[in-house]
Every structure is written in C-alpha cells, then in structure tokens.
Symmetry: C3
Subunit: 476 residues, 3 copies
C-alpha cells in the first residue's frame, strides 16, 4: 500500500495567480444566490459546486425531528420593501437579500417612522454598512439598512412620516438541503471538512470556504488515492449540521479528524480553534497537524482553545458527539468590521488569500494522511546509515543535511510510542522531510509500520443511502 507523501515543492507563483483567480471567480459565481437555512438559494449554490465535483444532495423534510430540533419550514420571499408615501423605495430585498431579516413573516402595513424603528436594524458605528440579521424561530419581521439611509430618511420625512411596509413572504412545508462530496480513500477512516452554506450575500462568510473546499475536493479526486476517505459537508449552519449529525449517527465513529472551515478569503492571518478534546484533554492529531502544516508553509498561526460559541464546531463538539474537529479560519467571526454586513463583499475576499488557504488546507490534509507510527528495527545504537547510502560520507560537519537529520530523528523516536507528527514537532523539521525519511528507512528495512489500523471495516457508508440522494432540484 503506497503512502502518499505531502508535496514539498513550492508552488509556482504564476499557477498561484491563476488558482487565486479561479477561486475568486467561484466565489463571485455563488455570491448572488439567495442562500438561507432552507430554500432554493441554498440549492442553487450546491448545484454550482456540483458542477465542479460530484456532490450528493440530501433533503430533510420540514417538520423532521433532528436531535433536539425540528427542521423548519422553507422560507420563500416574493418581494419585500419599504417605500415612502410617493412610492419610492427606501430599501428593497430585490437589491440585496440582506435588507430583509431572514425568515421574516409576511407584513403589509403603513406606519410612521417612529413606530417602524422597532423593526429596523442598522449599525451606528459603521453607518454605511447594512447588517445581516436572522429570526429563524421567533415570528417577526424586520428590515436592515445603513444608518446613513435611515438618518437621511428621518431628515426628509420626520419621525411622523409614513412608510409603507411590504413583506410578501411565507413559510411552507419543504425541506432543508445539504450537500456532501466523498473522496474515497484506501480505508474508511475519515477526514471531515465542513463549511456552512446558509449565509446570503456574504463573500468571506462563507462563500470563500465553499470555493476553497470545492477546489480541494477536485484536487483530491484527481490525485492519487489517500489513505483516508475525505468527506466535504456543505450544510446550513446549526440546524443543517444537526440534521447531518442526526442522520450520520451510525458512521460518526469513522471520523478520525475534521475541520470546520470559515472565512478563508480575507487577508488576515490564519486562526485555528482547537477541537473540544484537544482543549480539555490532550491535543488531537488535527490540532497538531494544523500547527505543523502552517509552520511548514511559513505562515503565522494564532491558536485558540475550543469554545462553545462560533460555527458548527459547536455541534460537532457537543459533549455527546465530541468529534475530533477543529476550526480553521483566517479572521474569526465578529473580529473584522465587515463581519455580517454588506461590507463582506467581493472586494474583501482576495485571490491570493484564497489560494493560500487552499494550499494550507491541502497541506493539513496531507499531513494528517501521511502520519504514522513506526518501530526502529535496529534500536540499539544508531544503525550504520552510511553503508545503506543514508548518511553523508564526509564527517566533521555539525548535524549534517536535513534528510540525514530527519532519518536520525525518525529512528530515535520510532519506538512504537511516537508518530511522524511527533517527530516533525520535536525536530522542527518539515513534515514532508520526516515522511520522506520514514519511507527511505522503511525501504531499507530499518522501520516497521505500527500505525494503528482498525481491525474491522469501520462502517459501510450506509448513512449516505440512495434515499438521501436527490439529484433533481425541486422548483420553488
């Protein structure tokens, strides 16, 4: 069974430019779809991704119990706007889905500005930006607009000026949709990569991660088979992740490593949020592989402990599931001024940032996949590497070249207790050099492979049964 070593060659800058442009193009393509936690905007987004990679779509009917939750009805909007008495529109959902609070209930009314204010959301500290707000479970309606628009309106019509309210929306029985890409590996041990797919009109949060993840899926499909199966999950936040968890129950034991992906397009540095177990107990391979991979790539990395707030790591890291899932972002949620506003647009997301995010994610996956545990077959003293062509013949220089150092490190730590990731961490050597040294030493019969393997098939993938697969999108 050949082992796939991480790629060590530096990427070609021209290729990176082209890659960044392609990723940015995909973000631009999916940005306009009016995503929500249910509905056709979500389906259109998945369809667009499904043109790049084989995507399996699941629909979970409204009213279905998923864990402690219930799949909500689908929210459908025909039109929604605020208008002055003369009919000119103040804000219009047709211009941007952000203008309407998600899951607003129907309303058709006329009221003075002072009364309307209870339904208006602005950002006084960022007067030009329109906020993104939701009210999935409390039946209300609301409009989001820039503080500056509101101030101008108040100046022009006064607090007593009348405003027409139209929310032509309904909540109907339908279903919640999520998509999966499965890249089969040599084993059913899984790496889960999950990105929420419910936010409309926000480029970084999270069209960026949908684009990066789709591009990685394509690469892995096109490349040599990994040891791990890699599963990509594109689902609406919270209730979508819960729906998947509910249905995937039987095969969750196969998940060896996972990452929630968000905000991978801005130019901030990378931030890693550790898995729950890595925070409470001891670092998991995913927690360590992220650090090693980003170190090897020369990126800075801010590492944070797990918290039960944030994205879907909340669900994967709930105490009952406690999956080995961390979270990779660039700037975390709430920490950039454009977060959840109309400012999170195509200009915030940069091609070179997307390309570097893809490279980082791929290196993490390859590090996790290339890890292993070995035993030195000649553990008493150093084996004589020179006669096996594994040692510089000219002595007297301190430490020797990297490949030779890597060989010494792998031999020294291959006591059945340490993994190659341990070696990469302790030695400071790139994981790829360590992996390559292990391959050379194994060829020379100086190592035996003691990587733990499941003794029986971990599962049968039955949770992705034919019943779940919907290949035709239902029309609204």
């Amino acid at each position: 069974m050949p082992i796939v070593a991480p790629q060590t060659s530096s990427p070609d800058p021209v290729e990176v430019d082209a890659l960044g442009a392609r990723l940015h193009g995909l973000v631009a393509e999916i940005l306009p779809h009016r995503r929500c936690i249910t509905g056709d905007g979500l389906r259109q987004t998945l369809l667009a991704l499904g043109q790049r990679v084989p995507l399996r779509i699941s629909e979970v009917p409204s009213g279905t119990r998923v864990l402690d939750w219930t799949i909500p009805k689908e929210w459908r909007v025909r039109e929604a706007y605020l208008a002055r008495e003369d009919g000119t529109r103040i804000v219009d959902w047709a211009d941007s889905p952000l203008h309407l609070v998600q899951y607003s209930v129907a309303a058709r009314d006329r009221m003075p500005l002072w009364a309307l204010r209870a339904h208006l959301h602005t950002l006084p500290d960022h007067p030009d930006l329109v906020p993104y707000r939701t009210s999935y479970y409390a039946p209300t309606w609301g409009f989001c607009l820039s503080q500056r628009s509101l101030d101008r309106l108040a100046e022009e019509i006064g607090e007593g000026g009348e405003v027409e309210v139209v929310v032509d929306a309904e909540q109907v029985d339908g279903s919640l949709t999520y998509g999966e890409v499965l890249v089969p590996g040599q084993t059913e041990e899984e790496i889960l990569l999950s990105a929420h797919a419910c936010h409309p009109a926000l480029a970084n949060d999270n069209a960026s991660s949908l684009a990066v993840a789709t591009a990685l899926a394509r690469r892995l499909i096109d490349g040599p088979t990994l040891r791990h199966t890699v599963r990509f999950l594109f689902a609406p936040g919270t209730v979508g992740a819960l729906a998947w968890l509910d249905r995937a129950h039987a095969h969750l034991g196969q998940i060896r490593h996972g990452l929630v992906l968000a905000n991978l397009g801005d130019t901030g540095g990378f931030t890693y949020k550790r898995s729950r177990r890595g925070t409470l107990d001891q670092l998991l391979p995913v927690d360590r592989a992220v650090e090693v991979a980003l170190r090897d790539l020369g990126h800075g990395l801010e590492v944070r402990p797990f918290t039960p707030t944030g994205y879907d790591e909340r669900q994967f890291g709930s105490p009952g599931f406690d999956l080995p899932v961390g979270r990779l972002t660039r700037t975390p949620h709430g920490e950039y001024p454009e977060y959840h506003t109309s400012g999170d647009d195509l200009s915030l997301v940069r091609p070179e940032a997307l390309a570097a995010s893809l490279e980082a994610l791929e290196t993490i996956v390859r590090t996790l996949d290339g890890d292993g545990v070995y035993r030195n077959a000649q553990p008493y003293g150093e084996p004589q590497l020179g006669r096996r062509g594994l040692y510089a013949s000219l002595g007297g220089l301190p430490n020797g070249p990297e490949a030779q150092q890597a060989a010494l490190w792998v031999l020294n730590l291959s006591d059945g207790q340490h993994s190659l990731l341990d070696v990469a961490e302790r030695s400071g050597l790139p994981f790829a050099a360590v992996r390559a040294a292990a391959d050379r030493l194994a060829e020379a019969d100086l190592l035996t492979d003691e990587t733990p393997r499941p003794t029986a098939p971990v599962g049968d993938g039955a949770t992705l049964s034919a019943d779940d697969l919907v290949t035709d999108f239902r029309s609204p």
Copy 2:
C-alpha cells in the same frame, strides 16, 4: 434542596463605607487586649468576638500533650520595666505589651547598659519602631524598644550607666484557649477559616482577620443556609492550631476547603498561597475558587506556591494532615516594613481594605459552596435553547449576551467530568453567571446534578463535645 447562588450585585458604596467603619471599629476594640499564646488577653479578645457571634471556647490545660508538643504554662505579667537610677522609666510594659519579649521569665536586677544590651531588641533600620519578639520555649527575658530610644539612653547615661530591670512575671499552670464559630450547613462538609489570635498590639497581624472573619460569620448566620458547614477557628499560632488539630482529629475528613486568614487590613493587593496539595499535585477547588472569585471582583491577585514557612498553613499542610487549606492575605508577613513592629497599628489598617477583604472572602466561600458537577441531558448537539426562552431570538450577532454564553458553556462542559468552577475558569465568565445558567438549565430539565455527595454522614461533630466548651472565663 435549593442552591444558593453567589450574589452578583455590586455592593452599594455607602454600605461599603459603613461596613469598613464597623470593621475598623472592631479592630480598634480588640487591639488593646494583651494577647499571647495563652492567658487572659486572648480570652478577652475571644469574648469580644463572642459578643458578635456564638463562639464556642475550648481550654486545653497546661501540660497536655498535643501531637509532638506540650501546652505551655500560662504567662502572667504584673509589671515589667527598665528604669534609670533616678527611677524614671525607660520602657514600660504598661505602655505597650511589645516592650517585653513574650514569655520573659522573672528578673529583678541592676546592670550597666553594656551588659543589658544582650537583652535588648531594636530595629536599627527602622529606628522609630519597637519590634515584637517572643521566647516561648527558651527561658530568658528581654525588652524591645526603638533604636532611637536606645541611642538616646546611651548618650545620656553612657555604656557604664546603671539600669534597673524589673520583670515581675510568672508561668503558672492554666490552659490554652481557642474559639470556634460553627455555621451549620445543609451538609457536614466543611469550609474551615482560621485566623491566629495570639499577637498583641498588632492591628494588621492579625486583629484585621479576626474582625473580617467575625463579620463574615455573622453574615452567613443571618443569610440562607449554605450547602457547606463553615467553621471559623480563632486560635493562638502554632501550638493553638496544633491543639485544635489534635482534638479535631476525628472530624478532619469533613474539611473540604479551608483558608488561613492573615493581614487582611493593609492596602496591599491580595496574595494567595496555595494549599500543599495544590502546589505538589494538582490545584484544589480552594486554590481555584480564590483565583476565580478575585478575578470576578476585578481584584489583582498574586498567587504563590505552598511553603512550609508562614502561618498555620504550616500545620494544616503538614504531610500527615495535608488538608486542603490555602492562605489568603493582603501583604504577606515580613513584606511590609511595619511587620511585627509597633508600626502595625490602627493607621496601617484601612476601613475600605477591611471591607474589600470581607467581600473577597465571602465571594470565595460562595464560589466554593455554589460549585457543582452536572450532566447535560441533551448532549448530542446543542439543545434548542430558543424554544425554552434561553436564547436571544435575533441572530447574526457574534456570541450573544453573557447569560446565553454561560448556558452554552455549561451545556458543553456538563459531561460529568467538569464542575461549574471549570466552566468559570475556561469561559472567563463570572462564576455567578455560570451558577445562574446552571440553575436555569436545571429548571428546564437540560441538566442533571451529579455533584459528588458523601454517601453517609461525614461525622457527628462529636469533637466539639460539651467537655470542650467553657462558657465562663476563669479569672487569672
């Protein structure tokens, strides 16, 4: 069984002023009693405290073996002074008990200054201060005076000038006295708060802690019953603590948490000295509750490891007992210039410092008492808090309000392995907010209480038997 949550409301500044004044008044009241490790000054101090709270007094007869020690005779002084040939007194015990080395033996003599010097104690670096010195077990006598007085005397009478020495003191069979306040709780699990009560004429060390502890006892008696029984111990340092330990042997297993209290009246920041076990092994709840409580109050805190020097934590933390007892002070012993001198007077102790010490101590006790271990009854994914009224209905804002964050943290860490103290530490949220969230979640049947409880009564309080209780003070 109702759970008493920590109080979260900020104290009223006017009340704080009044409280500080009352505490300072109590310090002033007990300061003049001529405390020693035995005798009537100690008894009078306990009597004064006993006017505020029900105090149980124990007398241990001279000559009683307590652990490796023997209760000494009582030391009684009628008069003690140094005088010039003309009869004018140089120093007089009547002016301050500090002038005489504690437990000085009787002496009546006349000697030149140069010979007397072997019996004189001064502080050359602090020439205006009179030191505090003891010689409990080595039979000698000595006087303490300011370096300036001594220099003046030498100038006036010369080294050959004669000085009259009078120490009219005796050591007689009697007893060693200590006092206890017991605030019964819902269980016999105990919190021990101990303050040494043997130092004469030193306001911060330790009249301050006697006053603060007495005030806390009064509050706890007047308030709702805690889960823990709280025991206050006011005993002479070392031999008094040993006497109590010797007699309390049978019930020491009930002690779950404890603090030695000292120097709680100066304006220095708080210093916590960890328990022995918390230093050697792993932090105990008391070690962690002190840090959390002072953090929640916005106080700085210097944390130090256990050492076998200091106050009675030496005895509680001896390897045989190894009780879960830390030490709370403001400025530790030996680290303020007035330590063990006449400068440790009423001006060193500040009303606002005493009031803040009381608030800190109460918060620590309530944190320890409010801690518990819970299990999330819906551990797979987040339970839907919204439909239970525990979640903000408007989404799109990062993290949400503190109460909601606290609920998410409690749910996530309530896996039967983590306590609310763990939650407060990891989340950075105030313990009171965490405690309140646990109460709300338990009401909503989302938590079950798994706080470890003793399966049988821990003891019967027999060690505080009637024989030990002396309600009348014997006259000297």
Copy 3:
C-alpha cells in the same frame, strides 16, 4: 552507612588558579597525540591519562561486529603531503594531523590544481583556519588547508599548475581502543561519565573533557567512598561508544545517571542537553541535578531538549538503550567559530574555565549521590524542633535562618514521595543545605530513610573481565 554530603565551602581562589593551571597542562600534554577512532594516537592519550588514574584499557579487534556496526581496520599514516613541482610542501600531515582527511586511503599522484580541488577542504568564511574532516567509511583521500593557503597557491601556480600528492597510509587489521576508570562506591548503582577521545589536535573538543574527567576521577578516588560507583568512559566517538555498549550490555541496568562530556574548556556558559527520557517523558534525576547544581554554584545554564544529533548521547539515547544520560558542555558543537578547525587550540581553552567545569561536574555528581527519599516520622503538624535544638529560640522574625527553613522543607516534603532533590528545587535552597538538614533530622529520629535500594546486587561487573584488559600498548 554514612552519607556523603556535598561540599559547601567556596573554593579557595588560589587553589582554583593552581587547579586551572594543572588542567590546562594536561590538555597541553595530550593535545599533540594523533588521535583517531583507532590507533596509537588514541592509545598514547589513554596512557597519559592512565598515569593519573587507574585506567582499564579494552581493545576490540578490527572486523568485530558491534551492534549494527563493524570495527574498522586501524588507520596508519607514514607521511602525507602536497608539494609543488619544485618539491616545496604546500601542506604536510607532519605539521598537523588536521591536514589529512581522517582515514584517507593511499594516493601517490601528480595532478593540476583544478583537478586536485575535488580533494581539498577549506573554510571560505574563516580563511585562516584549517578544517577537520573525516571519511571513515567511504574510501577516498583528501587534504584540509586554509582558504588563504589555497588562494596563494592558486595565484602562484595557476589552475593548471601541477601538484604532487603523497598519502602513504594504510588500513590494517588491528583494534579499536577505549579506556575506563571505575571508582567503586558503596553500591553497584552507577554514574556514567563519558568523553569522546578520537579527535586529533582539537583542544576544546575534546581534550578539555578528558582532562576534567580525569581530574574528577582522581578526586573521587582520593575522597570518601560515594554511594554510587562512578564509571568514566574515554572512547572514540560513535563506533567506540557502540563497541562499549555492545560489550557492556549485561550491566547497563546498573546505570542510574550519566553525562556525556564535551567542550568543557571554552569560556562560554554551560549548556545542558537533557536525556532522551527527560525530554520525552519526565525529567530524570540527572536532568534535575544538573540544573540544581549549577544554580547552587551561581552559574547560568542553558537547558536544551534531547536531539538525536551531537555526540555519543545519540548512542546512549537510542531507543533500545534509552539510558538516563544527558550532556554537559560549555559551548555546544558547531556553535563556536573555531569548532572542528585548527582554531580549536590551546588558546581557546582557559584554565579558569576548566577549573569551573571540574567544580560543576563534581557538584553534579555529589548532588546525584547525596539525593535520597525520607519519611517524616512525626508527620502530624510540625515536630517541636526547638526542644531538639533545631529551631531559633527567638521568635518573631520571618522565616528564620536557612538551616531552619531547610529543616521545615525536608519535614514537609518527606512523605515518601519526594526526594531531597525535590526539596532543593521547590525551596530554592542549596542542595547541600537540604542534605545537611536531612542528616540532622535523621540523627534526631525525625526522618526515616526510604531511598529506594536495589534488593539484589545489580550486577557483577563481569563485563569488565580480565580478557578485556590490555595493559601493554602494541607498537604500530
């Protein structure tokens, strides 16, 4: 069984000067011997050390398998030089053994400078220094010279100028030599001190350590018997250490602590490289004793983790042996500009540095030897030290003198779980003060000795059998 306490008196500066001069003299005496991993230069070095201490010599015949290696043939050089066409010598092995790559094969040729360059080694960054190079296992030949000599030659004769090459050397059946000094202790538990003895003409690396170790052996032989047996090993690097390990297999279990010694003569600060186990798992006594001893002596110390590169700690710390062996140096290999060059000469090594290295090494050995585990015989409260003359009679001063603090610390931590080294670390008190306090407390029956002792003799020293001992050096 008397316990030997570490010496606490500061060394006399005049004695230190004399000692430094003696150590420097020994370095100067052994520097000229043409050491290699085999051969007479190595034997002459051991013979010189054997004039100071009883040294047992072992010879391991060429061709012997040792672990994964084979003892090489002996390398013998009659002459080796480069000469111009007019016969004047460019470099000559007779001037310095560094000029010839160690283990060069025979060559007799004439070639233009441009062709010769493949066999020349210089240090362009240090143009006046001659490098040290070896080729033990790849059959080639080469010369080392200063960049400046080479440049001058090129200027004078041009790239086409002819150079005469003479390497009159051969590799013949012989043996590899190593030496051991055994200082018997009260037990067969061993401290191993190892210094590589194969580098020619390099003063710091490692004539310095051979001198320091020999001087310590002399001191230990002349002083009172330690609890531990101390073994000094002077062997060629790598293959010599492997040969010793191969033959010592049966008694390696006796080794309780060990140090590889190198570069002990330069004026850099001390650097300690932890043992393999101390790096991976938890600190071993040797890792801790080095830190405590150097702290007690007031030296700075840079502590580094184990790595599988460096000196013979690579072999002692291979995963099969995993011996408790750290490494003590001043400036580590490769970190001073003169490393492995002709600049590592007598001027780099300073008498005062050698003397301080000896003092440090002796303090480490005495700390390891004086360590022990005790149990407080009066663990409930403090025993009354005053009536045993172990406590200052005058109270009221914070903490008291060092001896009293040491007694309190030893009593508090003597719970059968902590060693005196633990006490020295936690208290910050000098190990010698802690050891002395334990002695006084044991005399007063307040401590019982619970130092773990092997229940049976650990070995019989058979690995140093008569067959291994060669007292006559064979002539070349």
